[in-house]
């Protein structure tokens, strides 16, 4: 019987909570098309990972485990996912919009002779899907013309399915055949910064920071808030920050709940990467620049006077990836200091008076949740 298959792709043998969004999207599609929802995991340790994924609302979970799947190569993984699709008899295949997910979706579309939609942001009640195109200037409504269809879903868009009940795991046998590509090695990013794609908060800096030193204030604020660090292309091209931080058309697409843009003018190519963020804060000297015009909250002024310049003393707010439930609430409060207007300090710091606005609220009144990586 036709069904929906949400396919989780481990990275370095582990599944991030972003995989739960695949089940969240799968639930929406399953309800729309009135079809059962199944899950699949491929990898060298797929069976071990299947229990967690399968417990999140999937009727059956197909595990394709094979030593050749220890690291991601396109052909082997595509064959493995195709084996799971065949075992399930699935008619809709959902993948993440990651480097691996996108490549797999492309291969599967050809293997399964299936229509394909990438970076899906919305699933409509009739099963059509929406995605942004023309750099986010337009939204396309897409209809599949094939019996089987493949979609990749935009990160941070669909709810993360909760664990409920036990997984019903089924092993799928798989023959990788001769490999045309060979995995040689992996060099991890030295930085332990939060990954942009899965961040709930992003603090991004642009050319207005005036130089690499300006990014210190951006990193400090990001660490205090448990946010990922983004950048405009002009800041990246100036060599102030590595390319992996770039947000926009030629960089990463982000969809955090909070995006704070510091010294970024907001050219269309930058907006293409972040205009779907929940709340956009712009800090800029030019009140008329595009980002200040489109921001949810615009603050005109010199960034150096508006941002905290001294880092919080404790850096524990810098999140290491762990599930939200494991987060100990961190408390932040804003305190006045001589140079910068407000800086963020953490619980346990004594710093005299705490700023109170009209609302009477301070940062100390609200636990700040760490970035939900």
């Amino acid at each position: 019987m036709a069904n929906i298959l949400a396919v989780a792709i481990p990275q370095r043998g582990a599944l991030g909570p972003a995989s739960y969004e695949l089940l969240g999207a799968g639930r929406v599609l399953a309800d729309a098309l009135k079809l059962p929802l199944n899950a699949a995991v491929v990898g060298a340790n797929a069976k071990a990972l299947a229990a967690d994924i399968g417990a999140r609302g999937a009727e059956k979970t197909y595990a394709v485990e094979h030593p050749s799947l220890a690291n991601f190569t396109e052909e082997a993984y595509a064959k493995a996912v195709a084996a799971a699709v065949a075992a399930a008899g699935a008619t809709r295949v959902i993948l993440p919009s990651s480097v691996a997910g996108r490549a797999l979706a492309a291969r599967l579309a050809v293997l399964l002779k299936a229509g394909l939609a990438t970076d899906v942001t919305e699933i409509l009640p009739d099963g059509k899907v929406r995605r942004g195109y023309f750099s986010g200037n337009l939204v396309a409504e897409i209809e599949f013309k094939t019996p089987v269809a493949v979609l990749t879903v935009a990160p941070m868009t669909f709810p993360r399915a909760e664990a409920k009940g036990a997984a019903n795991v089924q092993d799928v046998s798989f023959d990788p055949g001769a490999a045309k590509s060979e995995f040689v090695s992996f060099a991890a990013e030295a930085s332990r910064e939060i990954d942009l794609g899965a961040a709930e908060k992003v603090v991004a800096g642009g050319f207005g920071l005036g130089g690499p030193d300006g990014f210190k204030a951006v990193f400090d604020l990001a660490h205090a808030l448990g946010a990922a660090v983004g950048a405009s292309r002009r800041a990246v091209d100036s060599g102030w920050i590595p390319y992996r931080h770039q947000v926009g058309l030629t960089g990463r697409m982000v969809r955090p709940k909070l995006y704070i843009a510091v010294g970024i003018s907001g050219q269309i190519q930058h907006l293409a990467g972040m205009s779907n963020a929940g709340t956009i804060v712009a800090i800029n000297t030019d009140k008329d620049c595009p980002l200040m015009q489109m921001a949810s909250i615009a603050v005109q002024g010199e960034y150096a006077e508006l941002l905290p310049s001294s880092p919080p003393r404790s850096r524990t707010a810098r999140a290491t990836p762990s599930p939200p439930s494991a987060h100990r609430p961190q408390r932040l409060r804003s305190v006045p200091s001589r140079g910068p207007a407000v800086r963020f300090v953490q619980d346990g710091e004594r710093d005299g008076h705490v700023l109170r606005g009209r609302s009477g609220l301070t940062l100390a009144d609200h636990p700040s949740r760490l970035a939900n990586l």
């Binding site: 480097v99 291969r107 200037n137 045309k180 992996f186 991890a188 609220l361």
Partner: protein, 261 residues
């Protein structure tokens, strides 16, 4: 390598039929393809005896991007063109590209096919991998470096979310690049001269051994039934204040109130 002609501006509206209003918008080489063109030229310079050919699927105006590729140092171009290719999605277009590559491969062996990251209009970032799948060749996307290459294999570095993978692909193979891979040079005077004189073979579905029903709108796996402007963002809030301190405090209060920090 494969190039696409895309609208020079992505700031497009929607027409009465609910499709992007691109008629009359000038087109040019897809910006991401500049990196792929540059990488092809660099490889050609690196590997003695090799040549670089650009392929595009598109209407008559699209031939201009082949000229642009020649101006930037490529040797030849192939124009896959005909009304039957209109309205194709990535599925149908990659099939046409794979057929053209197969035809070229039959004439003179192709070692590596290079693609841009994605296009500035549709932006799916899948055509390179789909083309490899049709050809049943090895492939890698998000490639930031093409390292050692010999007759049998190529070593590439792939940008992942958490670092970089090194992969060895058997040739022939397809790679899709990211902008980190190089800094494109501007067209040279010599290149511009060559591009003016260049003549490109035109291949339709028949020359590629494909049925008209396999390509274009007829061969597509999906269609855009409607395009719309994204929902407008609610009007923003301007934070006023006599001093920076006052503004910063107000900002913090609002973010706390909205439970954002």
């Amino acid at each position: 390598m494969c190039v696409k002609s895309t609208p020079s501006s992505v700031n497009v509206g929607v027409d009465a039929s609910g499709q992007p209003k691109i008629a009359g918008v000038p087109t040019s080489l897809n910006p991401f393809d500049e990196f792929a063109v540059e990488e092809s030229v660099r490889l050609k310079e690196r590997v003695a005896g090799s040549t670089a050919t650009a392929i595009t699927v598109g209407n008559d105006a699209a031939a201009e991007v082949l000229r642009e590729a020649i101006a930037r140092g490529m040797d030849a171009g192939v124009h896959v063109s005909g009304a039957e290719f209109d309205g194709g999605d990535s599925f149908a277009t990659s099939l046409a590209l794979s057929a053209a590559i197969k035809k070229l491969h039959g004439e003179k062996p192709v070692s590596l096919v290079i693609f841009g990251k994605n296009t500035s209009d549709i932006g799916g970032g899948v055509v390179g991998t789909q083309t490899a799948a049709w050809l049943d060749w090895a492939s890698a996307s998000a490639v930031k470096k093409i390292d050692a290459i010999d007759e049998k294999s190529v070593t590439v570095l792939r940008n992942m979310e958490d670092g970089a993978d090194t992969l060895k692909l058997a040739l022939p193979a397809c790679v899709a690049t990211v902008k980190e891979i190089n800094e494109p040079r501007l067209p040279s005077l010599k290149g511009k001269m060559a591009s003016k004189k260049a003549v490109f073979p035109k291949w339709g579905a028949a020359e590629l051994g494909l049925q008209a029903g396999q390509v274009g709108a007829a061969g597509a796996g999906s269609t855009v039934v409607k395009a719309a402007l994204p929902p407008a963002r609610p009007a923003g809030l301007k934070i006023e204040g006599a001093t920076a301190a006052e503004k910063a405090t107000k900002l913090v209060d609002i973010l706390v109130e909205r439970k954002l920090i």
